[in-house]
């Protein structure tokens, strides 16, 4: 495995490579288990490029070769072309609008011969690079709000384009870059506000409007009571507390319902509500009455997916059924099981033990990347490393959480495991650029 040329292998973090290979092999095995049917001619299918597992195997070869090419590339190349690549990525995203293939449910795919190419997936690399480039500029002072806004703009512009392509799930991934910005000095307050907003929205889903309003008001009064000593001295505090309270109630009463009525599609509303285990309130259903014909099927589908996924994972028990005896995943009970729900195959086949090992492997990968990030001398490399960690983390956490009913079903793949050429390629490139940058960690890149 070790390349002959010592110049290339020098400084390479082999632990990342090994984890990568391990994860990809797990992925190939899982895809094989999920799609192999008794009596398939395995060898023939590999030659014939027919089955999903053989396709994924070739994707892996291509990705690995590409990864090797990246290792041969000068690390300055990435920082030098970061902005250009970003522009190219945006261009590709724009190209999708006129040229996307007529695949049901998404407008984000371009068909290139036998391959379905999804720019929204690939664009994550360019955003990571461009964001790092921006943050590492000597003239960037990230303590300034203007810089923070520009950084957020770089990260979220592709997200907007992706939402316009009906790929909300993929768009959400770009929010992961806030972790990078946080590391580079984004105020903690923003993180706190972000979490609070999330908590508020979840509460809006769970509680009646009036109940929540009462809760918020009493909360506000409590805060006012406890801070009375301070706001007597400084009246601005009182006003800001009241402003926050008004904002919260406003969001709760108007913004969230508005979003559910006007912005989100009914099926998305249903997915969100099905995650918290509630039916969609009648007023939202009415607001989407023009979509009602599709509604019943969709609702059943979402519930069905998560239910079947939970059955598959839950029935795995402690040690699992063994990959080829996993009835739920092998006989197509779980929809999308080779792509978004691939974790079911692991959960059912290898049980809690196997899931634990896989999760441990991911955690090891993330911690390793964070460690690597912190040993970089250049901000570019560090930011990029955090970008990789954030994207991996978001994909992994949300994907697994949705298969076990902790998160709404948004279609994002599990890194290195899910079937899909573009996603494997994207994650491989991201990881190998990191390895390349890390190999030159003594260099200061701009």
């Amino acid at each position: 495995m070790r390349p002959q040329n010592p110049a290339i292998s020098k400084g390479i973090d082999w632990s990342l490579v090994w984890i990568y290979l391990l994860l990809v092999s797990i992925g190939l095995t899982a895809i094989f288990a999920a799609t192999y049917k008794e009596g398939d001619a395995v060898v023939q299918s590999f030659i014939g490029f027919k089955t999903d597992y053989s396709k994924q195997f070739y994707f892996f070869i291509i990705s690995f070769v590409l990864g090797f090419v990246i290792l041969l590339t000068d690390s300055k190349f990435f920082s030098a072309t970061a902005n250009l690549l970003y522009a190219m990525g945006i261009f590709m995203l724009l190209l999708v609008f006129p040229f996307h293939s007529p695949i049901k449910g998404t407008e984000s795919i371009i068909k290139l011969g036998a391959f379905n190419f999804q720019p929204a997936e690939l664009c994550k690399i360019f955003v990571a690079l461009a964001l790092s480039k921006y943050l590492s500029r000597p003239e960037t002072d990230f303590t300034k709000t203007r810089s923070q806004l520009i950084a957020a703009g770089i990260a979220l512009f592709p997200a907007v384009l992706t939402i316009m392509q009906s790929e909300t799930g993929l768009a959400l991934v770009y929010f992961a870059f806030f972790i990078v910005m946080y590391r580079e000095g984004l105020p903690s307050a923003i993180l706190v506000i972000g979490f609070s907003a999330a908590a508020l929205i979840v509460a809006t889903l769970l509680l009646e409007k009036i109940t929540l309003a009462i809760v918020l008001t009493s909360l506000m009064l409590l805060v006012v009571w406890f801070t009375r000593r301070w706001w007597k001295r400084k009246s601005g505090l009182l006003y800001s507390i009241i402003f926050v309270w008004l904002l919260c109630v406003g969001i709760q009463f108007f913004v969230v319902p508005m979003a559910f009525k006007k912005v989100l599609k009914l099926y998305q509303v249903e997915r969100i509500y099905s995650t918290v285990g509630k039916d969609v309130p009648a007023e939202y259903v009415e607001a989407h009455s023009n979509e009602l014909t599709k509604k019943t099927d969709k609702k059943k589908d979402i519930d069905y997916n998560v239910r079947q996924s939970k059955i598959a994972i839950g029935s795995g028990g402690v040690l699992g059924k063994g990959l080829m005896s996993a009835t739920q995943t092998r006989y197509d009970f779980v929809p999308e099981q080779r792509t978004d729900f691939i974790f079911c195959t692991v959960g059912e086949g290898f049980g809690f033990a196997g899931s634990f090992v896989l999760l441990g492997l991911y955690l090891l990968l993330l911690f390793r990347i964070v460690t690597i990030a912190e040993r970089q001398r250049s901000t570019f490399s560090r930011s990029y490393a955090y970008g990789v960690a954030s994207v991996f983390f978001f994909h992994m956490a949300i994907n697994i959480a949705m298969t076990i009913g902790l998160a709404p079903v948004i279609g994002i793949p599990l890194p290195f495991i899910s079937y899909g050429g573009t996603s494997l390629l994207t994650f491989t490139i991201m990881l190998f650029i990191l390895i390349r940058l890390d190999a030159d960690r003594q260099m200061v890149l701009r």
Binding site: K37, E38, L135, F142, I179, Y182, R183, E184, G185, Q308, K310, I311, A312, I313, G314, S315, G316, G317, V318, S325, T327, Q328, Y331, D332, F333, G347, E348, G351, F352, S355, F356, L359, Y362, L363, L366, F367, V370, A373, E374, T379, R382, Y386, A389, F393, A397, I400, A401, I404, G405, L406
Partner: protein
């Protein structure tokens, strides 16, 4: 610059770790703590496929299979796979129209979804199956599926064998849910009584199914599968050729015939008229024929041999003599001076066909001449026996005799739906006579009349008692069960107990009765039952009967009855034949019995007998009143149909026929027949309930 933020790497690590802990926690809950998912997965993915065993075969006394298993085909459709077929041609092939085709596809979709096969047309005729097989390649989504079916190579013994049907809800409940929807269960006859033997043991194959419920393979390579065990065969006493001939003889007649081997109680033949061909109830026309027969007032589905109530009339007399002899109230030499009527009760009844003195000078003569007065008197002597104090006690004693003979109680043969007949309790007479009655009240019991009702089986069994000189075995069909188990033995033991019912009679007394019955054949009313070289003992009977129709009491032709056994020494066959409304006992029932005995004992028929067989077979003795009764039944049903559906197409023909006689107004309503419920469908609100209606309509 950002080096100050290094502590934030720890927070980021913490966020990562937190997410993992939450996920691991949920996984621990799902996979380790919560156990329900394992079962849910089993329900999801494992299907217990039932393997039906081959049902047991029923053989006759010579080892011929009276019924067999065969395979018939159902045409199945998997709607999702039906693509690009020439519907018109297909419909022409199957013999339906395109609307019907669409309806059936829709039904199949609704019942079993589009991806699972459901029955498109059940029980294909052989011709249709062949036609489809030739062209099957043209019709993807359609295929033939085997279905086991009973066939009856001799076209005989329908009432004995019974039939099998898919188990209904009640069967399933009664079996403690052993049976399942789609299982076949014996509904009547031997199929029902020996269900546990015939059905065999169901096997189970655990199959893995996929998300669309398609079976994809054996679960755990079949480690939990159990093989099915074929049902076991029944070896019966039935002589199938005798049975066939008996059915031929009873065709177009109403009544019952039973032939028993007295030595074992084994039933050799049992016929009820009118009869039907058991093959009519299977196959594609099965349900149609079934409903036709159920609605037929002549009752082809009723087994009159065990379910018909008949006054035994004179055929009872030998039994009356035996009871009196056993009780010691008369001796074989006892005589009664009959002058043509019985005078001791004051009303001069019953009358007697003979008037000459000495025609009832002893038991033998009284039977040979069938003296009514003699037997009325003998009955009175029995019940007025001073030993019992009063007539009620005496009657109870007499009734007890009847019950031990198997009269007034169910004999308990091995097919269901037997009726007990009637020997009334004293309470009946008490009620009707204000508690005051004497032996004169019901003296015609002595000549097999009054309220006495018997079945042909009971009378045949009574003949066995006489033939055996005092004992009988409970009549039954099955001699042994193949591979008899302990359980089967307990089932069969009932039929292996010897019932000694007349213990106080010396042989000489029996001889008097038997010789008397022999004389009936030699010199008396049963001359046409004579068979050269075989001593036959018999007794004829004729019973008057009436029916009430359209408010009038009509006298019907007499019932013709005949009981006999042969040979006199070492009897091999005992027979009772009842033919309703056919005249004297000797006219029809007699020759029928003779042919039966001749066939069974000699194995062939004399040329003259063959002529008789021909003649009797051709004779139609179906009573005329049935025609009117059928008309009434049908018109009432048509009226009910009109009331519920407002469809006047059926009632019309009855109304028009009656309109000429009376000027009854025509019921208003649609004149067009409602075809296939289409009009009803149109009225129903939505597709869902419409399909439900169609579904329930079919079942």
């Amino acid at each position: 610059m950002s080096v100050f933020n290094q502590s934030r790497s720890r927070i980021i690590r913490f966020i990562f770790l937190l997410a993992f802990i939450v996920i691991i926690g949920q996984l621990f809950y799902l996979q380790v703590i919560e156990g329900k998912y394992r079962q849910l997965a089993m329900d999801n993915a494992v299907f217990a496929k039932v393997v039906w065993p081959e049902r047991g075969i029923i053989f006759d006394r010579n080892g011929k299979a009276i019924l067999n298993n065969t395979i018939i085909y159902d045409l199945m459709v998997t709607p999702a796979e039906v693509k690009g077929i020439d519907t018109l041609e297909f419909c022409r092939l199957i013999g339906i129209d395109t609307a019907e085709f669409k309806k059936r596809i829709l039904e199949a979709r609704f019942k079993n979804t589009a991806v699972r096969p459901s029955v498109f047309k059940g029980l294909l005729t052989k011709e249709l199956q062949a036609r489809f097989e030739e062209n099957s390649w043209k019709y993807p989504g359609f295929n033939l599926v085997e279905r086991p079916l009973r066939t009856y190579p001799f076209n005989a013994a329908a009432h004995i064998l019974g039939y099998i049907r898919e188990a209904d809800t009640r069967d399933i409940e009664n079996s403690g849910n052993y049976y399942r929807q789609g299982d076949f269960i014996g509904k009547t006859g031997l199929e029902s009584y020996y269900e546990t033997v015939l059905m065999g043991q169901r096997g189970v194959q655990y199959m893995i199914k996929d998300n669309k419920n398609r079976l994809v393979g054996h679960y755990e390579n079949g480690a939990f599968d159990t093989a099915s065990v074929a049902g076991r065969g029944l070896r019966t006493y039935i002589d199938i050729e005798l049975q066939q001939m008996a059915e031929q003889l009873m065709s177009n007649k109403v009544g019952g015939l039973v032939a028993i081997d007295p030595k074992t109680g084994g039933i050799l033949a049992m016929v009820s008229g009118p009869n039907f061909n058991p093959n009519d109830l299977t196959g594609s026309e099965g349900s149609k024929n079934y409903s036709r027969m159920v609605l037929d007032v002549t009752g082809p589905m009723l087994n009159r041999a065990i379910g018909g109530r008949y006054e035994p009339g004179s055929t009872f007399k030998p039994l009356g003599a035996l009871v009196a002899l056993n009780e010691g109230v008369i001796t074989p030499e006892y005589g009664y001076p009959c002058g043509g009527r019985y005078t001791l009760c004051g009303h001069g009844k019953p009358q007697c066909t003979h008037a000459g003195n000495g025609h009832a000078a002893n038991v033998r003569l009284s039977i040979a001449n069938s003296c009514n007065a003699y037997y009325a008197h003998v009955y009175r002597l029995t019940v007025d026996n001073p030993k019992y104090g009063n007539v009620k006690n005496g009657y109870l004693q007499w009734r007890k005799y009847m019950n031990t003979f198997g009269l007034g109680v169910r004999l308990g043969l091995d097919i269901p739906n037997e009726i007990p007949g009637l020997i009334p309790d004293t309470s009946v007479y008490n009620r009707e006579n204000a508690n005051h009655w004497t032996s004169c009240t019901n003296l015609t019991l002595g000549i097999g009349q009054d309220k006495m009702l018997t079945t042909p089986l009971q009378m045949a069994n009574a003949m066995c008692i006489i033939a055996n000189r005092g004992y009988y075995y409970t009549p039954h069909f099955v001699e042994k069960i193949d591979g008899e188990t302990d359980e089967d033995t307990t089932l069969m033991n009932r039929f292996r107990i010897k019932h000694d019912v007349l213990t106080h009679i010396p042989d000489t007394a029996f001889n008097a009765v038997i010789e008397g019955m022999n004389d009936v054949v030699k010199f008396g009313t049963a001359k046409n039952a004579r068979i050269p070289s075989i001593e036959v003992c018999a007794k004829t009977g004729t019973a008057e009967n009436y029916t009430i129709q359209d408010g009038r009491r009509i006298k019907l032709p007499n019932n013709s009855m005949f009981v006999c056994f042969a040979p006199k020494e070492n009897p091999k066959i005992a027979i009772a034949v009842f033919v309703q409304n056919a005249g004297f006992g000797a006219t029809w029932a007699g020759p029928i019995s003779r042919l039966m005995m001749e066939k069974y004992l000699n194995d062939t028929l004399m040329p003259k007998s063959k002529e008789d067989l021909e003649r009797i077979t051709k004779t139609n003795l179906m009573p005329a009143y049935f025609k009117r009764a059928q008309y009434k039944e049908d018109s009432i049903r048509a009226f009910k149909w009109y009331q519920t559906t407002k469809d006047s197409s059926y009632i019309k023909r009855y109304v028009q026929a009656d309109v000429k006689k009376s000027n009854a107004p025509m019921p208003a309503g649609k004149n067009k027949p409602v075809k296939n419920n289409e009009a009803m469908m149109a009225m129903l609100p939505d597709r869902h309930s419409f399909l439900k209606t169609v579904g329930s309509k079919k079942s």
